[in-house]
Assembly symmetry: C2
């Protein structure tokens, strides 16, 4: 018999056995890189911007020439010409000279600041009055101010949001080296389980888990690989799992993980190769009857057949594992604070997850437990997140401040 592990011990065990796993690199066009994870650091092959650029319409100046200038006592500068948009300037500034530069245009050599057109006045053909003083660098982005040549512009493991796509575009990166999605094989077991599209009769149940786990896999950056439904037959499960292991990085088997007559998953893991079953049972609710195996360095999860349990176990353990395999830096946990609107009596010795919805109260958010018997799939679809009641905690009372992890 295996002893039941705590959530923490389970995470440690996963880290020890699978923390080193990484998927390979694959190159995708920039237009398909959104939402992917960067495989390696991106070093800037050039300065961004590539030239000293004006942020305003106005006059390029030597800042020192404008010191002390004011409405009452403007600085008088010689106007020596105009820089055109998209063209390199063919002029350079000497002392007490200025040149017109539009927004986005390049500063001529010698200039180190801009005076906005609103603060300047043209006197005839060749004189400009500046009614304001400009600090060095005012309204200018110097070459390399945004991204400096040779520096690390983006770190490996970064999730590519629109902002990071912008950095890559600015650097001229058209193909991005990202982490390959880990392939997650998903197998459902149970004599009573039928495909989603099948008519149900008697006490058949539709295969809810395969669809939910595939969506969770996609959400976490993995590639779901469906392996269908297998009856409660140890040899059939063995054969299907062996095939999964050939082509997948992670195997997930649902059903058959409680301690009972038909529990074949643990035996199958044992037969497939060492080190074998790492744990049988996690002190959490929902989710207790969970199996984790290590078959020749590939993780094999045996998840409870119950959809809500399978959902939470996958979320707690498989999602961080997938992020680790992608090399993704763990997304910071940013729970929102709320007042519990419910009492919750916890059974000590296990971690419990209470699905909640949120509403706005007089002084902040209020968390409402979703009503209904535990384990209904609709309790999850009504929930915006969950409150975790720690192992050893006494439970919750209405009015307690709680941290809600949003789904």
């Amino acid at each position: 018999m295996f002893t039941v592990k705590s959530v923490y011990e389970t995470k440690e065990l996963i880290g020890a056995h699978f923390g080193h796993l990484r998927t390979e690199c694959t190159a995708v066009p920039l237009a398909q890189a959104f939402g992917r994870t960067l495989f390696e650091d991106v070093l800037a092959p050039e300065n961004v911007p590539s030239f000293d650029r004006s942020m305003v319409d106005g006059y390029a100046v030597k800042a020192a020439d404008t010191f002390g200038a004011s409405e009452a006592m403007p600085a008088m500068l010689s106007f020596i010409g105009e820089v055109r948009m998209g063209e390199a300037p063919d002029i350079s500034l000497s002392d007490m000279e200025c040149a017109y530069v539009p927004t986005g245009g390049q500063l001529p050599e010698g200039a180190d600041a801009m005076v906005m057109i609103e603060y300047a006045e043209k006197l005839g053909e060749d004189m400009i009055l500046s009614y304001a003083q400009a600090a060095p660098g005012a309204h200018v982005i110097f070459a390399g101010d945004d991204i400096r040549l040779g520096r690390r512009a983006l770190e490996r493991g970064v999730l590519l949001r629109p902002q990071e796509i912008g950095v890559l575009a600015a650097l001229g990166v058209t193909e991005v080296r990202v982490a390959k999605p880990p392939r997650v094989g998903i197998l459902s077991t149970g004599d009573e389980i039928v495909p989603v599209g099948a008519a149900i009769h008697g006490t058949r149940m539709r295969d809810v888990n395969a669809s939910v786990l595939a969506a969770q896999t996609a959400e976490s950056g993995g590639e779901p690989v469906p392996f269908g439904i297998i009856p409660d037959d140890e040899d059939a499960i063995f054969e299907a799992t062996r095939k999964m292991l050939e082509t997948c990085d992670v195997c997930v088997i649902t059903g058959g993980s409680s301690v009972g007559a038909k529990d074949a998953t643990a035996r199958v893991i044992g037969r497939l190769g060492g080190p074998g079953v790492l744990l049988h049972g996690v002190a959490m609710k929902p989710g207790k009857p969970t199996i984790l195996g290590d078959v020749k360095s590939k993780p094999v999860f045996g998840l409870p057949g119950h959809p809500v349990s399978a959902f939470f176990v996958f979320r707690m353990f498989a999602v961080p594992l997938l992020h680790g395999m992608l090399g993704r830096k763990a997304p910071e946990h940013r729970p929102v604070l709320a007042r519990a609107a419910f009492d919750y009596a916890s059974r000590q010795g296990r971690e419990e997850y209470v699905p909640v919805r949120l509403s706005h109260g007089a002084d902040g958010l209020i968390a409402h437990a979703i009503h209904g018997k535990s384990g209904l799939i609709t309790t999850l679809s009504q929930a915006e997140g969950y409150v975790s009641v720690a192992r050893g905690a006494e439970g919750l009372r209405a009015g307690n401040l709680v941290e809600v992890t949003l789904f």
Copy 2:
């Protein structure tokens, strides 16, 4: 001249002109429905579960027969048989009878509760002692407890997360009617703009906006349609925009929206058809030089050429518009609270957005303003979210409690 509108007025204007726009319906297989928006209510075509189901391994009983049972005084029940997994029971309970039912099995007629096997003992072939009393419904999910036949299981406009995919799977839905992604045409303008892959020389700038806006469009459930780069030539922009309007639901043009010699976007919108330009300038920073047009009921955005400004304007106005077109219920705004680690002097009369990163302090999160000149694309890629400084607010002081909207 058009007057500058506030952020609030701009949102009202968008609601009044485009709030009624909806994309069409399209059917996708369940396996591709994750992340899409439900086009219509889903009514349950059947009960879930379809039968009274046991949640435990144990004995199905009439709850009343166990009342008062305890360790010291167990209830004695006649054992009349076993229900097999996945099969409809061929037995029914009379008073003081019980039957074995495995987890997931169907209760026989007459039973209304389960006694867990841990609290029962078998005496010979045909007698069971129950050492605990069972409340009616204990450890049972009755037919329809999860989803009741004919009721609304999911509401139109719902974003399909893994949980909702589970509800659809439980109902046997293999094809899901979802909202078509709004097609967002993206056009960049400017003599100085070159494609991301081009070598840059002189003062050319790479087209950062098209990539960022495409990623933001995808993130918001839309379909980006690239229209390339056009020089600052009014007729060329007119022609490209006319083509965008033929095939797209929303048009986005970047560059050329500040009041200056080459500002063609506003004139192009005017020429394309009524009602035409709705606003020219929004009191926000970054993002002021924004144009919004209504060309025969299609929204046309003229965004600033500056990537950070374009990013914020798209996020503030185009993202909610796309959600509206998808019929998506506005995701609740769930900012996190943090203490500002910076002072910020605001220029009253406009709403300002300060990109921040977060760290953990002694009593909660701390928000750090991203250093660097405003408008650098790297300031966005270093930010986890932003603090919005309201129009009319005096600015921020270090130590103030602020709401951080996460990206």
